[in-house]
Amino acid sequence: MREVYFDHSATTPVHPVVAEEMIRYITGNFGNPSSMHSYGRTARKAMEEAREKVSLGVGAGPEEIVFTAGGTESDNMAIKGAAYANRNQGNHIITSAVEHHAVLDTCKSLEKEGFSVTYLPVDRFGMVSLESVADAINDKTILISIMHANNEVGTIMPVPEIGRLARERGILFHTDAVQSMGKIPVDVDEIQADFLSVSGHKFYAPKGVGALYIRQGAPWLPIRHGGGQERNRRPGTENVPGIVALGKAVELALADMKEESSRLVRLRNMIINGVMEKIPHTHLNGHPDKRMPNHVNLSFEFIEAESLVLSLDLEGVAASSGSACSSGSEKSSYVLSAMGVPKELARSSLRLTLGRDNTEEDVDYLLEILPAMVERLRLMSSSYKDKH
């Protein structure tokens, strides 16, 4: 059976070159970067080289990069750190209804601490409008957090415009670039971000490492306490192998981003067009062109998504329904709901996210097996016969 992995927004395999680099810091070079001796110095040097690479990857200075354990930690650090540091300026935060739980739930927890949060609506393509951000700003607003690209539907938000607005109004701006980093250009100056979150395992680095960009001088307070590492912004012995891997992954992503992105757009469009052509009662979720190069999200009427994911899995194709991070029981995606997608269709959505390892043959295989699968499940479905 052919094995096809179409779930790169959930996580990616580690790039072989990244793995090779990383393994050198697992089987050797194990020093603690805080140690004065040669083991420590070797580790510190590797870590600082990785910091340089990551900073180049987002257009920042190395001292503006703090290594973390992943996207969730970066989001928590950015939002809480900015909120606490600016408490005396105001208590209002603006975000969107379609952010990842790492942002949404952090905002919700801040609401319990006396902050007030506006969750902006999105249009039917999952897009936050600049106007809605402008309208939501009041004189208590201290932070705006809008994601660069959405994980469920792949919509790319107008973050440079939102960033400019925030800067003009003297409000801090955070963007969750977990899905965009390594796939489309991410530049903190173009976005005018004060904080930007990335997560290694979404772009061929391993799980357990990420980074937060903190603009030099941005008012922010650490949310973790300890031995002073990362210039006291994120204490704890540093994950050197992971950090080295993150640096390498950023470097590799930059090297062929343009070519790889065009290649993925082509495969992505093959899937979208192929499915729409072959399978009736199918809908594309997300923006038709302001979408991630690797991102497909389709709703198949009359079918519950999990059963389709399971069918695909049994034929060797890994896909997902909504976000892999959502708990198993949450059936209709809050992102699709916010986009106004009817409940039935929201529960019928299949996410296929492509990556470096995918080929045209993978797409052909999918297009070969999917129509019969959908047909089979529809014939079994209690909601199908009414329309047939």
Partner: protein
């Protein structure tokens, strides 16, 4: 996460469909996830002669529906009503904890179908 039995019943579900001239029909929605199952019955001498289902639901829901119809077929209505969702899950060699609610769906739909059959007969 699913047992081989679940996968088997998901891949080759038994008794899929609708009985054209059913004696009883029941359709229920799962209060937890909103998935739905429809069960139709053919009853003779108080025995379930035929039973079919259609499900809009997850893999566990489909497998449970399939298993339940297998278990119910040939049983008297009273016996069939005694089948619990735990029985269904057990016959499937278990379900993951977060999927236990899925096995309710089929049993509930059959209960509704039997109810429907009884109501019809009572009124005739």
């Amino acid at each position: 996460m699913y047992s081989e039995k679940v996968i088997d019943h998901f891949t080759n579900p038994r008794n899929v469909g609708e009985i054209a001239d059913a004696d009883g029909v029941g359709e229920v929605g799962n209060p937890i996830c909103g998935d739905t199952t429809k069960v139709s019955l053919k009853v003779e001498n108080n025995v379930i002669k035929d039973i079919k289902f259609k499900t809009f639901g997850c893999g566990a829901a489909i497998a449970s529906s399939s298993m339940l119809t297998e278990m119910a077929k040939g049983k008297t209505l009273e016996e069939a009503l005694k089948i619990t969702n735990e029985d269904v899950a057990n016959m499937l060699d278990g379900l993951p904890p977060q999927k236990m609610h899925c096995s309710n769906l089929a049993a509930d739909a059959m209960h509704a179908a039997i109810e429907n059959y009884k109501n019809k007969n009572a009124s005739s």
